[in-house]
């Protein structure tokens, strides 16, 4: 399972995701881009079964672009997060998709916000979140070292330390 580490900094949001694509025990590609941009100020970091990911995120990206073209309004991060949550929640009882996402967006009014979205349709706004199996290892580290309103250099430092920990302790 992939790892997504996301943090909220001072006026920005930052996210790190691994770039491996694998099929059971074989690594098929090691430079896969798993970030999807939505509009100008939002992006999604997605993890899950590749077929489901592409199908769902394509649909989402184009639906939101269509809405923007039709109405001329740009959606806030909170609206996009709730839209994604509703789609996943509707799929849950019809044809479940095994996708976990983190949405990071910047609005002029609210600043940067980070949303954790689960495959069951759970939505939670957070300051920092980790998805994947390495959440068990890295959550305590971030609890200790995360501070609000960090600048870019400090967040990059934390992300580097996280990747060092994963290299030591995780497969």
């Amino acid at each position: 399972m992939d790892t997504i580490i996301s943090l909220n900094g001072k006026g920005f949001g930052i996210s790190a995701i691994d770039t491996l694509s694998f099929k059971s025990f074989l690594i098929t590609k090691n430079n896969l881009n798993k970030f999807i941009e939505i509009g100008k100020n939002k992006f999604l970091a997605v993890s899950g079964y590749p077929g489901d990911v592409i199908q769902f995120t394509d649909f989402l990206q184009k639906t939101i672009q269509l809405y923007t073209l039709k109405t001329g309004l740009s959606l806030s991060t909170r609206s996009v997060a709730n839209c994604i949550r509703k789609e996943l929640s509707d799929c849950l009882r019809k044809s479940p998709l095994n996708i976990n996402l983190t949405l990071i967006g910047f609005d002029k009014i609210y600043g940067s916000s980070l949303y954790f979205i689960d495959y069951l349709g759970t939505l939670q706004r957070m300051n920092y979140c980790i998805q994947g199996h390495s959440s068990l290892i890295l959550s305590s580290f971030l609890d200790r070292y995360y501070k609000k309103e960090m600048n870019l250099a400090e967040t990059l430092n934390i992300l580097k330390k996280c990747s060092d920990i994963i290299k030591t302790r995780f497969l």
Partner: protein, 201 residues
């Protein structure tokens, strides 16, 4: 119910009620977030608390928001607790064979400021009470604790102390609920909300 965790207590007093929940959001035994209350306000005198799958809690909350807004537009008045409770039971039973995995509790004051406390299971079966009600992972132990501490006709301050004590005692022994609590005290004068400190683990 144990997948995401949580517990809620509702206690009734003299023309007022208090509703309290914990703040933990977890996935199985892993705590993800410590600021996730599970009580939602419908209007000034009507609150709903929900425990279960967080995705279903959000879905039900959005459906109820929609239905209560349509009601207040059509009838030009706020929805009353009895009607709201029927609406929720209807919604839950509508999904009889693929139910929303959520237990709910409704607490409100009707027009004459009489107490209305009702808890429901996942299919919408009602269970009205006049004193207190609890749902969630430690609901059994909370029922026992509330039975000892609840007294009839408590005023706002006594009610707040009692419900906070009961919540803290219940959360102490349960690992899937905890990380702080929030209490809303509702009377005809208005709503007071306070955060309480519990065992942070």
């Amino acid at each position: 119910m144990d997948y995401n965790g949580g517990s809620i207590i509702v206690m009734g007093g003299k023309n007022c009620f208090a509703i309290a929940s914990d703040l933990r959001f977890g996935i199985d035994n892993f705590t993800v977030e410590k600021k996730a209350p599970k009580i939602f306000k419908i209007n000034e005198k009507l609150f709903i608390g929900m425990i279960g799958l967080f995705g279903d809690i959000s879905t039900i909350r959005q459906i109820l928001d929609y239905k209560t807004s349509i009601y207040s537009l059509k009838k030009s008045e706020k929805i009353k607790p009895f009607g709201f409770s029927n609406m929720l039971s209807n919604l839950l039973y509508h999904h009889r064979f693929a139910p929303f995995l959520v237990e709910t509790i409704i607490a409100g004051l009707d027009e004459k400021n009489n107490l209305f406390i009702e808890s429901k299971d996942i299919l919408g079966a009602k269970s009205a009470s006049s004193d207190y009600a609890t749902i969630g992972t430690c609901s059994e132990s909370l029922y026992g604790i509330c039975q000892i501490f609840w007294k009839p006709d408590m005023n706002g301050e006594e009610l707040f102390k009692t419900i906070s004590n009961c919540l803290i005692l219940g959360l102490n022994r349960n690992c899937v609920s905890g990380w702080g609590g929030i209490v809303h005290l509702v009377s005809k004068k208005g709503v007071t909300s306070k955060l309480i400190q519990t065992r942070m683990d």
